[in-house]
Amino acid sequence: MSAPIVPASAIGPATGVPAGTRFTVCPFTGRRLDEVALSLTRWNAVTSIVALLVGAIAAVLIVLTRWQAVHLLPAVWFYRILGVHGMSMLIFFIIFFEMAVLHFTSTALLNARNVAPKTSWFAYGLMLLGALMVEYLMWAGKADVLFTSYVPLRAHPLFYLGVILFAVGALIVTGVFFANLAIAKRERTYEGSMPLVVYGAMTAAIIAAITLVHGAMIYIPTFLWSLGLMEVDPQVYRLLWWALGHSSQQINVAAMVAIWYMLGALTVGAVVLNEKISRSAFVLYILFISLASAHHLLVDPGMGSAWKIVNTSYFMYMAVLASLLHGFTVPAGMELGMRLRGYTNGMFDWLRRAPWGDPGFSSLVLSIVVFGFIGGITGVTIGTEQINIIVHNTLRSPGHFHATVVSGTAMAFMGLTYYLIPLVFRKKVALWSLAKLQPYIFAGGMVIFTISMTFAGTFGVPRRHWDISFSQAPFDVAFSPAVDMFLALVALGGVTAATGAFIFIAIAVKSVFFGEALGEVVPLSNMRGVPQGLTHPPKHSADVDERWERMHGPEAGWMGPAPGTLVLVFVFLAAFMLYFFVNWKVLSFVWRIG
């Protein structure tokens, strides 16, 4: 049951709220919620999940084609569906969801309002129109250029126009986000600095603005080129396209980390260990991450080594440093949050006694682990100028980014959705027993999928390739039988993960459209369909100040307030070092190249 609509004047100390703006009070937190912002959040989230459905169906068709024993689709449809998969997942699913996050964080977390409802809806309409144009042209076979659409491969001009409309819509939403922040500040809807989660969302929005400008720089000329009005240099296209293509993944990283902090707080009462470190790490993303896109061009003819090293080392590694910092502060904040609630025994008791049955929590942990251990380690390694020689355009590349974007970002989105369903849609989570299992099914599938893909890639199996039996090629190529096994595992993992995605979609759709209204939430009771973080709000123990003091004091030892996390990050670092140097060793066996 949605809370009654309360006139703005009746709520709290906020000032300067114009008459006619409609608010409700959140039944869990007592925060003031703007109905317009909630509506925008709902519509963007629902659209995002529809795109996820399209992308996940495409995923199943693709893995069943790459598994040579099944080889489902004919070549034309394989490449077409591969394009559909990339655009639906990386662009439409993820960006619509990020728009929902921007609408939500800039209002609900600041007790603030959406300052431009009409503009926001217009932007949503523009994004939807662009997305539908792109989808139609891809399915109609008028844009068989795959996700990257490298010039001079040519698609129908409306394909490029659709992308431009979508990007303009997204750019407008980022503008509204900043306006919401500015007005909230002016209207003093919150005290002091903005919360860390909003700060993270702002980081994502800033990177989004930079990225979308690059998008305009490349898609507008390409649109004109497709109409025959100008020339576009293929290497310049690759450079600018990746300034869009990779930076857009950095929006995802920033949004994902912001969601990590949010889910940590909601599920286990995670504290911010040190605001200075966490916020500085977000600033590092803004400063350096957009410049790091060069790692897609490491074995391109257009740029020299100095350019490649500068862009992928100083710049990328400062962004990597930011991720290494969040990789410590997020779990450490969770550990300390648990300890402050009384789970203080030993090194890992806090982890053992965490709410593993809360899908928001399990999604969060699995997102951090798969993103860090598989996505992060492989990504930094293959983004090295020389190691890229043995990686470029092999299956190792999608193996990496399915661990980051799909296992990391998408899982963070899924985990957050389990909380948005009660908080924003005011419904119980449907199919509750399945919901508890879903993160494990999805993550398990993705782990098998990404690792198998990475191994297949080390044999040189190309990405974006219909038939590695090369039946119609002039010269025979025979991959090792191990490759067949890895591709079968890719299919197994892929179908498992897709099953996890379908379960998620079923849960979301059933909850939102046919779900049971939330009704009254009884604290400390077990309610089906309500995540544990809401029924058992994580409250720190009464003597929290003394505990905090003690855990930071000398008696805690040099390992400080989060010793368990410190052990975990050193395990991570050891795995990282091992993988990195093994790759140099493998590289040294190939021909001399200079």
Binding site: L109, V197, N274, E385, G460, R464, F470, V544, G594
Partner: protein, 195 residues
């Protein structure tokens, strides 16, 4: 003394620019040091290592590059396989490999342990040079000549797989490279040059 403990959902109270605990600082320092190791490896490998993708890079008209490839092919042609010329250039030569949808031309015959300057370019769209089974990969971009010094370190019959989507026939785009061990095989005697 009251300490503000809060989550990322709340505004930090007062001055939040507080020093971090020693354990956090330790991780920051170690993480930074590791990033510097990652950085140092790239320049270091240029200096001490043998595999670097730098090469000689210049713009080239696709037609001009193809003309150069045909001249090179005619100069050193030693036979053919399924209508595709086999070309055996002398060690140290500039060798030309053209990519086009959906073939690589010509077939190269090289000698183990000898250095060549391999020029890669495309006549139409982006292609991907992937040497099978060694797993060496380069991007081939139309309008650009990528000249790489390469030294085969083992004899064998290799394939060049296109690993950049270049159109519907992409998966049939396979070329061939033959590497002979000059110490065991009859010496080709850098034939073309001596005449």
């Amino acid at each position: 003394m009251h300490i503000d403990i809060h989550t990322g959902l709340d505004s930090p109270k007062g001055n939040w620019w507080k020093p971090a605990h020693r354990s956090e600082k330790t991780w920051v320092v170690i993480a930074f040091a590791w990033c510097m190791v990652l950085f140092a490896m790239m320049p270091l490998w240029h200096w001490k290592g043998g595999q670097n993708p730098s090469g000689i890079r210049r713009r080239v008209e696709p037609a001009a590059f193809y003309k150069r490839t045909l001249e090179f092919t005619n100069q050193y042609k030693v036979g053919d396989d399924r209508g595709m010329p086999i070309v055996a250039p002398p060690p140290g030569a500039d060798i030309y490999l053209t990519a086009m949808a959906f073939q690589w031309t010509p077939i190269l015959k090289l000698q183990k342990g000898k250095e060549y300057i391999l020029h890669l370019s495309s006549l139409d769209v982006n292609h991907g040079f992937s040497l099978y089974p060694i797993n060496i990969n380069f991007q081939v971009v139309p309008g650009y000549d990528y000249g790489l010094r390469v030294t085969p370190n083992a004899a064998g019959d290799f394939r060049i797989i296109c690993n950049e989507f270049c159109g519907i026939g992409h998966h049939t785009m396979v070329g061939r490279v033959i590497v002979e061990d000059s110490s065991t095989a009859p010496v080709a005697a850098a034939a073309g040059d001596l005449q």
